[in-house]
Symmetry: C2
Amino acid sequence: MNITDIKSFIPPIRTLMGPGPSDVHPRVLQAMARPTIGHLDPAFIDMMDEIKVLLHYAFQTQNALTLPISAPGSAGMETCFVNLVEPGDKVIVCQNGVFGGRMKENVERTGGIAVVIADEWGTAVDPNRLEDTLKAHPDTKIVAFVHAETSTGVKSDAKTLGEIAHRYHCITIVDAVTSLGGIPLKVDEWQIDAIYSGSQKCLSCTPGLSPVSFNERAVEKIKQRQTKVQSWFLDLNLVMGYWGSSAKRTYHHTAPINVLYGLHEALIMLKEEGLENAWARHERHYQALRQGIENLGLTFKVKESERLPQLNAITVPAGIDEAEVRQRLLNEYHLEIGAGLGNLAGQIWRIGLMGYACNLKNVWYCVEALKEILSKIK
Amino acid sequence: MNITDIKSFIPPIRTLMGPGPSDVHPRVLQAMARPTIGHLDPAFIDMMDEIKVLLHYAFQTQNALTLPISAPGSAGMETCFVNLVEPGDKVIVCQNGVFGGRMKENVERTGGIAVVIADEWGTAVDPNRLEDTLKAHPDTKIVAFVHAETSTGVKSDAKTLGEIAHRYHCITIVDAVTSLGGIPLKVDEWQIDAIYSGSQKCLSCTPGLSPVSFNERAVEKIKQRQTKVQSWFLDLNLVMGYWGSSAKRTYHHTAPINVLYGLHEALIMLKEEGLENAWARHERHYQALRQGIENLGLTFKVKESERLPQLNAITVPAGIDEAEVRQRLLNEYHLEIGAGLGNLAGQIWRIGLMGYACNLKNVWYCVEALKEILSKIK
């Protein structure tokens, strides 16, 4: 490639119905383009305070330690593990997809001992197996699980899993990357101790931020640490100097100003719509998608009671080249859907209905496009 | 704060002449607002390849492992240390400001042994002391130093320091957060082994990305590791699956799409101007600033041969409340300059002339505003 041939990048206009990023609302894109100001500017700090209030609403929590980490969801996950896990801590990881596997990696790289409960991919985490494992490992400190498995489209029962963990005096780390804004999630009511999410799924913001929240119990565990947090960038003791509630903010790292403009706008839009209305919209358009998919003779990988409305795993019919279908959707219809990951690679398509992209026009467009392609291929 | 009172955030228009972020060019802001596409979209992957080519130019390197980390400069620093330092490795850190201190923190949190050479803040790293320390610690594996100390406005001689380190068979980690695009920096010619920078300084992009580059020697040390990289998010073995040169990109984390649009545009603009011309422009406007500052009877903290044109440490005159001056510049002139950090808190102002913000209009505006405020205060 010759450098002098490189021109300004004008992206194609896609319809993003994969596992995220989802379509970003024009209001959010517009916010991103506003002039950059300093990360210690009083006007910016006021906006940070507003983001915290808006995140309290989105997470349904009053946790003081609620903020967006300045990096994508994977860094939000790592923030939870490096701050909460100390070397030698036993952590039960309920794995029913790719992201549970990533949790295990995080535990091990933090010097913790991971006890993995491997549930079948495409099914919810089994509360009974969690309880059995807790009985067998009474020295467990932390239970980690994924509320909405992005790799399989499965919802697990965060409330019940949390109750079991607490009965055995464990704190919980919950992955809500794909659930926040798309399905009911009530951090305080469900007593979730530590949670992380992402900006680019049901919040319809661009990727690059990971909202997190920690309750008093989690904060207490961090304060009681005998060892330093292994990551300087993600050390909450330091991050809080910048995002904390004190009048005097201390420089830690340079916040990604313009993406935070975008998150602020996206969260305002969530408040305008109302959380319950956003959840209902995801459910309603999932029902329309379901009808369309079933009319095509296609089936869902996940049983109905465990499905995520915002991320639908569709079984690839026998004899169909799944990659060809995705490529044609992208090339001929400018429509992005997701492939299967890990154990489910080649077996499923993942159709996202997230945030702004969750609307009837997209649902019908996707169903009709799939219909047209499948009729040509068969 | 009542959540219903929160409105869309319309930032004030500032002139950013602090230590960064610097003013972002309208072309970059415009690029940030373009529609988001998927991080595995072929069109996006082509743009990633272009970013690598443009970074090769900016860093003056042909290193295959050259990419932007999906988080701010502090994460770029951590990427270098967690990948290159193994537990027990001895690392000499040349500290002449805040960021050298952060390097030491990184070494220790990675299980390395930090040997700190403390140079006076406001002076360059002393090559002789580095050589003496290497003689005293022949088992040193890595030498780390800051090319352009953002906290003090000091330039160190990266070429000479690198030559000394190599003579003692060490690899080098170089902080170029503030130098990239502002002063000569030649990664291949100077044989820098690992380097990190930031998007929000002399590149005039928004904060949130950290360009890094590693040569073959650094890659070899990473490959020879006996232990896993402690960070999953920053593990270059995994990041390379996404940013690598292979035809098949593997999902690692979701890249911050729109900020990458911005970086792409910023790097195109650097190429259009030409690196040498950008360096000359920073030098030229620094000279204008110097004249203005000296005409006000103010002095520079750093001796002339060690000054960064893009970041000027000005000694606060006796009897002047430095914070009041900065606040009045911000409130009355919408002009941001920086405070001193760490050892130099209260003693200096930091006036940045970075990237797009480095122009004569800003220089004269800043000098006149300072003149007006100082005349009112005195």
